[in-house]
Amino acid sequence: MKIFLSFVRKEFRHVIRDKRSLIILVGLPVAMMLLFGFALSSEVKNSNIAILDNSRDETTHTLIDRLDQSQYFSVKEILHSEKEIEAIFKKGEVRLVVIFPANFQENLLHIQKAQVRLVGDASDPNTSNIIINYASGVIRSYQDELFGLQKMPYQIELDTRMLYNPQLKSSYNFVPGVMTLILMLLGAMMTSVAIVKEKEMGTMEILLVSPMKPLMVVFSKAVPYLALCFFDVILILIMAVYILDMPIAGSLPLLLAESLLFILTTLSLGLLVSAIVDTQQVAMFISLVGFLMPALIFSGFMFPIENMPIPMQVISNIVPTKWYYSIVRAIMVKGLGFAFVYKQTLILLGMTLLFLGLAVKKFKVRLE
């Protein structure tokens, strides 16, 4: 126990004296939360749009008012012909043009179908997707209002091709995503780099030639990072609740327990890497390309897994971040209990044991 404490003390000193690791540890979660929380969402507030209204009836006027009044858009210009669309995009003044065809209201009332065309500036595809989504939302809510709950057959058809982007609709789905990424980065990368650094510096040689059990050496190195990762979980949750006003819908103890499990998963991945690799560079490379990229792609945070080709969906199952992401969303956003996440929990537990087993098996008590 004394040895362990001394490891913890030493590891904290390393982290505190190394500005880079401090930045990764504290700066990165804070930066990501602020980035996703404010910078990325405020970008679509008050976007300039233009309107081409070929119908000029009561319904289109109301819709245009609605769009203008919403926090997302302000109508910058009213166009008079299709020709002007390209020109206004080229000027870069608007990001979206909403086009109502002639006889909009009539079509809506009589043939119960009317089209609105949304033309986005896809030179910035992400933003234009978000904008189109918001515009669709505004139009839909108007439609609901118009016909109430009485399931009327009238429909305003939106002539846009939209990706199903759940994260665009809910501004706080990114919190689970940030947690997943940060833990993956810290747990796997920092642990493996920290251990491999000792190999590179030659200090591992001295530690190996000591009465400590070699595996203990490595585990004692990993445990301080467990504490650091857990600190980050709490940091992110505090920011989520108090700065981003995002309540934790489910049980906090359950969320923390599941986070602890995921930290163990990433730590054992880190241990596995450090057992195989001899230089910090390679450890870093494996962590970034081998862990962080799949975490970004396959967790469902950036890109919805449901929309991926089947082989990719299959691959996503072996990425631990996917399971943790879904657990956190279930608990934090949907407020579900353990009964709904036990399957993911078991998978994570299995993965942890597997990685840990491999790490122990690959671990060398000597230099080669």
């Binding site: 004394k2 040895i3 001394s6 003390r9 030493k10 000193r13 390393h14 004296r17 190394d18 510096m201 030659g202 200090t203 040689e205 001295i206 530690l207 190996l208 030639v209 000591s210 009465p211 400590m212 008590v365 000597r366 230099l367 080669e368």
Partner: protein, 309 residues
């Protein structure tokens, strides 16, 4: 029993293509200060790593204090102190923090074994808050020695502790080793500086994975004694070239202010060379017969093995 015994150790790297140690045998007696003398790449570090259980030999058997380096590695790790060749302490921890950390790793405390390191530690104590990375070569090496000593090892392995360290610090370092030896600690130390051989009880000359000689310094020199002459003249570069061109010259190398020359025909060569040099118009030549030192001996042994290859 805290000696070291090495029998027919062979070690290769890169799937057997690089021969690091070639059938080496050695005995180090308990309490002995034993020197491994040889240049970089001779195989000294490999031998240390085998003895400290970090590497497994391809062939042969080695024991440290009676424990086998392969099967009893855990026992060995409890009783040896090891100072690797590269400065291997935490650069971002202070002197104090490094010492305390290693003390705990070795299941002891700094206070408990302070008496062991006291006379080394007092020299670096004024800087105890300074980070190890900011220390000079001599101080780093003292700190590393403290860390290797903190758990009162029975056998101490020091891999090139004095490389890159100035002569004053080197002398101090060897004085410290003398005091440790007086406590009964067995010390195996390697060095590329030939002059440090005189500080060891016995030495092994090692080159390209082979041991050239093992004995006391005096005996090794005596055994390989050959007539050797020191010659000097103002233009050294020209002189060396001319001496080497002489038919009976065996070897000619710069040595301090002189040049040491040995002949294929022993002492007879010297008058012949003087005639030869006089014909070349040398004036102000000074010459005398000298006793070979360890470096002369090492050069002789190296030339012999190279000619055998």
């Amino acid at each position: 029993m805290s000696g070291v015994s090495i029998k027919n150790i062979t070690k290769t790297y890169e799937k057997g293509t690089v021969l690091a140690l070639d059938n080496i045998s050695l005995e180090v007696a308990p309490g002995e200060l034993f020197g491994l003398i040889g240049p970089d790449g001779a195989g000294k570090t490999t031998l240390f790593r085998i003895l400290t259980t970090l590497l497994i030999p391809d062939k042969g058997k080695a024991t440290v204090a009676g424990f086998d380096v392969v099967t009893d590695y855990e026992d060995i790790r409890k009783i040896v102190g090891y100072m690797p060749g590269k400065f291997s302490l935490y650069q971002d921890l202070s002197i104090e923090e490094n010492l305390n950390f290693f003390a705990t790793v070795f299941k002891t405390t700094f206070e408990e074994n302070y008496h062991l390191i006291e006379d080394i530690y007092v020299q670096i104590e004024p800087f105890k808050k300074r980070l190890a990375g900011e220390l000079s070569g001599g101080m780093k090496q003292k700190l590393a020695l403290c860390c290797a000593l903190i758990h009162e090892p029975k056998v101490l392995f020091l891999d090139e502790p004095t490389t890159g360290v100035d002569p004053v610090s080197r002398k101090e370092f060897w004085d410290m080793l003398d005091r440790l030896k007086a406590r009964g600690i067995t010390i195996v130390v390697s060095t590329p500086y030939m002059d440090e051989a005189s500080r060891c009880d016995r030495i092994a000359l090692i080159q390209k994975g082979k041991i050239l000689e093992v004995n006391t310094l005096e005996k090794i020199i005596k055994k390989n004694r050959q007539p050797l002459f020191a010659i000097k003249a103002p233009n050294r570069y020209k002189l060396i070239k001319d001496i080497r061109a002489f038919e009976n010259t065996n070897s000619c190398f710069a040595f301090g202010e002189d040049n040491h020359v040995s002949f294929k025909n022993g002492s007879e060569g010297m008058p012949q060379l003087l005639n030869y040099l006089n014909e070349k118009g040398y004036e102000n030549l000074s010459h005398k017969e000298v006793e070979p030192d360890i470096e002369d001996t090492f050069i002789k042994l190296m030339l012999e093995t190279e000619n055998h290859d």
